[in-house]
């Protein structure tokens, strides 16, 4: 048995869980409902190397019944301990994950994540992609939740187009930087911005 003597693992949770989680959930929901629109999200202070936005999403969305995949670059005892204490979520392989956390390059290829089944399209993964920031747009977005078109910066175009083709199957994406989040659900059509 390993004694976790560091209290760091226990710190950084929501100070007022019902209220903070409700605000964070609203931000996450608005992000998914308005693809490409940036929302503020905060409340958690995760171990070093993980953004406030990603940490807050994990505490809001994960529980003992959601498997989380941590990419090798982010995976650490500190992060595992923190996630375990605050959410009880088990750390799992990519193929079993309900949520996955990492940078875009570390998460690829997308095919290793669950895309749902015809009967249960919801049995699919949600990817939380840590990005350096929300830079100038390179993609045009169309689809539910978007009046006309929206723009955002994506790490590439083709992977997101291929994912949208799978609809109603596919994975969904959150992009996190600092205390901000944007999202791209599988229902959004992506084209390169002219």
């Amino acid at each position: 048995m390993r004694l976790q003597t560091s209290t760091a693992v226990y710190a950084g949770g929501f100070s007022n869980p019902p209220v903070t989680a409700a605000h964070a959930f609203r931000a996450a929901m608005n992000a998914m409902a308005r693809p490409g629109q940036i929302q503020n999200i905060s409340g958690a202070i995760p171990p070093a190397g993980v953004s406030v936005a990603a940490g807050t999403l994990l505490l809001t969305l994960c529980d003992p019944e959601t498997g989380v995949y941590l990419t090798p670059g982010l995976d650490s005892d500190a992060l595992r301990g923190w996630l375990t204490f605050h959410t009880g979520a088990p750390v799992v392989e990519a193929g079993q994950a309900d949520f996955a956390l990492g940078t875009w390059d570390a998460l690829l290829p997308l095919t290793r994540f669950r895309a749902g089944t015809a009967e249960y399209p919801d049995r699919s993964a949600t990817l939380i992609i840590e990005v350096p920031g929300f830079g100038p747009p390179n993609a045009a977005l169309k689809g539910p939740g978007i009046k006309g078109t929206a723009q955002m910066q994506l790490p590439e175009i083709s992977a997101f187009r291929n994912n949208a083709v799978l609809y109603p199957l596919g994975v969904d994406f959150f992009f996190t930087a600092g205390a901000q989040v944007a999202a791209l659900p599988r229902s959004t059509q992506v084209t390169a911005e002219a």
Partner: protein
């Protein structure tokens, strides 16, 4: 078809206020405390915990008080409350072999090691009303004897020694959970047992009785029935080891059923299993019989078309909250549906009358 209707708020408020008054009953009579319900109506509390699928005697007592003793309404309240609780995790499977038995009997072995312990049973009472209870009667202390300190072994262990009863294959496979994933068929034995454990006692009893009366070949002996407390252990992820998070009272029934054998299995005894929260003897025996009847396919038996062999029939109708919800909703306003039905019946009648008139006119003309 559901149509929103407005109005009636005042009537509803007043109905609720009157309900509260009726629940309280005459103020000449002192009010029931939750402790009184928990201690003196403990079998009702047990049933509400078992079918509400939440072990918490104080909450069950509150639900019984609030529901004026309507146990299905109380179970409904507990189920609704249960959904508001965050799930911390799952326990390690309880070890019923380590139960501190209040009661432990076997209908198959007179000299079972550990003995036949009757416990606080209604069996052998004469079912005569005891009018002394109508007055406040002091109860004499129950007799005591030298307590048994060691664990009481399961009876089936002895049959297993002779290899004359099927073995329960041990596994740590993650069981399905019908409170998390909608039920689909075939459900598998784990989900069946969960469904039966929280199913309506009356329904499970009726199903079990039907197997005894010949609707599914399933002659059962109670190999063992035991009631008592077991500790519940859970792995605590942040600690890295398991601790006891409490203790629950359980009733466990193992039936032993004759089995003529199949192409691959020699004649032997097979098993049915019942496990229920609280002291719920009737329910656990009934559960074991229905569990055994539902196992016909895996044991290579014939489906004789009995209701208790039909997994979809049994599991879809065992839940009294689902059943009562669907049953009772038909008393709520269906004015628009009924208007369309009324129109339809009027139209059919008009057509029938017109047809009769046409036929009569034709007959008269001929």
């Amino acid at each position: 078809m559901y149509v929103a209707v407005k109005g009636g708020e005042r009537a509803i408020e007043n109905a609720h206020a009157w309900l509260a008054e009726e629940r309280r009953g005459s103020k000449e009579v002192s009010e029931l405390s939750l402790a009184q319900i928990r201690e003196q109506l403990s079998l009702a509390v047990n049933r509400v915990m078992a079918e509400g699928s939440l072990y918490d005697p104080d909450l069950a007592a509150l639900a019984i008080k609030q529901s004026r003793g309507d146990l299905i309404e109380a179970i409904f309240l507990i189920r609704a409350y249960r959904t508001t609780l965050p799930r911390f995790g799952c326990s390690k499977p309880v070890e019923t072999g380590k139960m501190a038995c209040d009661r432990r009997i076997s209908a198959t072995f007179k000299d079972a090691p550990g003995g036949q312990v009757l416990g606080p049973t209604f069996d052998y009472t004469h079912r005569l009303l005891d009018f002394k209870l109508a007055a406040d009667g002091e109860v004499p202390e129950a007799a005591v004897a030298e307590p048994r300190r060691e664990a009481t072994p399961h009876i089936t262990e002895f049959l297993q020694g002779e290899d004359i009863i099927e073995r329960e294959p041990f596994s740590d496979a993650e069981p399905g959970d019908l409170t998390r994933e909608p039920m689909s068929f075939p459900a598998g034995r784990a989900v069946r047992l969960q469904s039966l454990a929280r199913g309506d006692e009356g329904f499970i009893l009726g199903m079990a009785y039907s197997t005894q009366r010949g609707y599914a070949r399933n002659h059962a002996f109670v190999g063992e029935l035991r009631i008592g407390c077991v500790p519940v252990e859970m792995e605590i992820p942040e600690l890295g080891f398991a601790i006891e998070i409490g203790e629950v009272e359980l009733t466990e029934c193992e039936t032993v059923n004759q089995f003529k054998g199949s192409k691959t299995v020699p004649p032997q005894f097979t098993r049915g299993y019942g496990l229920v929260f609280g002291q719920s003897e009737r329910k656990s025996i009934a559960m074991a019989l229905v569990d055994r009847a539902l196992r016909w396919e895996e044991l290579g038996e014939d489906n004789v078309g009995a209701a208790a062999q039909d997994e979809e029939f049994v599991l879809s109708h065992a839940d009294n909250i689902q059943a009562t919800g669907f049953l009772e909703h038909i008393k709520l306003p269906h004015y628009v549906d009924f208007q369309s039905e009324l129109e339809l019946v009027r139209k059919l009648r008009r057509e029938a009358e017109e047809l009769a008139q046409t036929l009569a006119a034709r007959e008269a003309a001929e």
